[in-house]
Assembly symmetry: C2
């Protein structure tokens, strides 16, 4: 394992080649907790939910888990009843080989929608997978679940909890433009810190709201989006509950892990050349700030202008105007980095300077509505010809 | 005037070169009704409204009009108080030269946002414009208001009203992807048929709902979108009111004119290579059908897949799923033309045939939710590299 990535105690990993979509590629992976872990999750709000999502949503009600099996190459979505049987069989096979209860095994899939899972390829590889347990590391798992991602995404965070050092580690896959459309986002988080299931659930929902839901959004998700979080408690700290002193330390650490994972997803957006942080300030409410930020972040015209180093603030004003959020044109200030390009709703004429600054790979766009005290940040990327090229031929 | 385009009696046209953005281009135009006309309009719902939109919204309350002056090259949007003064001055100059009341003169602008109107270029050209009156035809006006449009858009319809033959003619400009973002859509309709102002307003709202709002959508419009309709009554038919027998004939004819204009806008979408009609059937309500259709029509992933001749119905299912509309995955049928690619939520395996058919320039995508009796049609186009290229450098 690379020295730079640290994983919590009590988790082991495995990968295998099942040739689901491509030959000679590790496309099947396992995350295993040596002991029963408290487990919580959040799932896509898309009404069309892939079979494994439906399976996991049932299982997560127990609040417990031991194993996550993940495959890339096929999403097992829009696959009807057979898809449900296939997801359940995969979990069953994994649980049987691991000698754990099937209800403690979770399944996640990502890849093409609408094609039946090639179970004849997966079935014989489950045994390989289990016998490889411990021979792979977390990077291998992060790689095995990649689709159009160009790099594996792993973040860890050490934290002091009651005089012990615990670890939260997360891996995820993303790519796609995420919003307004979606590539599947999968994220697996694990920690050795002992956290009560209810507190774990609360911290996860809080962290997802501030991170993955600020790059994607409720109601506009892929059929397969899944975040799972396992806490096996091997650290031996006093169980963290909502009333614990360490609750907030844990919550903030988790926020940081998920925020950094979100950043990696956006940086790896399909065809993206620039990473853009959009902050709305001075909004009437956080909800309005978020909505205005998404309206700008999802504007194809804004995204292409930024790609072309064009500080076209008129498109930003228009996107604010159709967001449905209360704005007063004559109060809006807009900044690219520290360069103010709009003052009280009209241009400052600093376009040339702003255009220079747009050539950077990481940008910050700040919009002050000057109406209230609420703010929200959204992460996005530019829209390029490469995005079109990748997506017009994704299945071929 | 080309023999193929027919205009109603009592309207005349003028154009002039004001070099607002480019030299040697007719970028200023006038539509003039010889007598006072009943006049109605619909305007952008964007909260950021261009100065001329704000001016026209006030004037339209009188229900009367004589002249529309339109320019391309500058939108006069986000231009503060000076923008309002400039729009009013333009109307004033035109009205003065035409010897009509200023309140009967309307102004429309399209082009770049956020740059002050170059009034020093426009002022001296108003006189040219008026002295050219009658020397230009409606095609010249349609051309003068083009921005990234590649062809002028003109539609006319003859109709028998009380044994006389009246005419409705419309011109518009569009381009841009229209939705989820927007290029300004301007449309000017004129008729010699006598229609009471209230009835005229009702038919316009009905027609816009079925046409321009099915390619764009309320709450998501440009800063300048405007539709104006003048009825001068020169035909001399008995005034059409909502109770007239000919009311429905008139209404249906107007619907056809605006629907055909909408089609032209979509066909001329920036960088578009394909025209796509999306029909949702079997929805619980018309509103739900429309929402589901827009969710599919606005999906970048669906648009790029169609561009690449990829019948990627999984992306369509996902877009239906995140539309927020009630759907049952296991009931959904999807057709490209007459080729059924999804039956009860799963693939029929006819992808190859569907891919062949996607190579056509005009496509029909039908989605039956099989849940209710309501339907809605939305027009859209594909998303291509050319769209990115055009928009990243729009201002340069």
């Amino acid at each position: 394992m690379s020295r730079s990535v640290i994983v919590p105690k009590g988790f082991s990993f495995a990968t295998a080649e099942a040739a689901i979509k491509y030959p000679r590629r590790k496309d099947l992976a396992l995350i295993f907790s040596e002991i029963d872990a408290n487990m919580v999750g959040t799932f896509t709000t898309n009404r069309v939910k892939a079979a494994p999502v439906r399976l996991d949503m049932k299982r997560i009600k127990s609040g417990m888990g031991r194993a996550i099996v993940v495959n890339s190459g096929n999403a097992n979505a829009c696959t009807g009843k057979q898809g449900m049987l296939d997801a359940a069989e995969t979990a069953e096979l994994v649980a049987h080989a691991l000698k754990i209860k099937p209800s403690l095994a979770y399944v996640c899939s990502t890849g093409v929608i609408g094609i039946p899972m090639p179970m004849e390829k997966i079935r014989p590889k489950i045994r390989d997978l289990i016998s490889n347990l411990g021979k792979s590391n977390i990077q291998d798992v992060a790689k095995a679940m990649m689709t159009t991602d160009t790099f594996p995404k792993i973040v860890h965070q050490k934290l002091r909890i009651d005089e012990k050092t615990g670890i939260i580690t997360g891996i995820c896959k993303g790519a796609g433009m995420i919003w307004p459309n979606m590539a599947t986002m999968l994220c697996f988080l694990m920690t050795d810190i002992a956290v009560e299931q209810k507190a774990l659930d609360k911290t996860l929902k809080d962290a997802v709201k501030q991170s993955f839901n600020r790059i994607s959004v409720d109601g506009d998700r892929s059929t397969n989006d899944t975040v799972l979080f396992m806490a096996n408690g091997i650290l031996g700290n006093p169980l963290i509950t909502e009333n614990s002193e360490s609750y907030n330390i844990f919550k903030m650490a988790l926020r940081e892990v998920t925020f950094n994972l979100s950043k990696l997803i956006v940086k790896d957006g399909e065809g993206a050349t620039k990473f853009i942080e959009i902050e709305i300030k001075g909004a009437g409410s956080e909800e309005e700030a978020e909505r205005a930020a998404f309206s700008v972040a999802n504007s194809n015209l804004v995204k292409t202008a930024i790609y072309g180093n064009d500080p076209n603030w008129g498109r930003i004003m228009a996107a604010l105007g159709y967001s449905g959020v209360k704005i007063k044109e004559e109060k809006v200030d807009i900044y690219f980095g520290k360069i103010q390009i709009v003052k009280k709703g009209t241009g400052t004429g600093r376009d040339e300077k702003a255009s220079e600054m747009l050539k950077r790979k990481e940008l910050k766009l700040t919009i002050d509505l000057n109406l209230g005290r609420s703010s929200a940040k959204v992460l996005t990327c530019d829209l390029t010809e490469k995005y079109i090229k990748e997506n017009k031929a994704y299945r071929t």
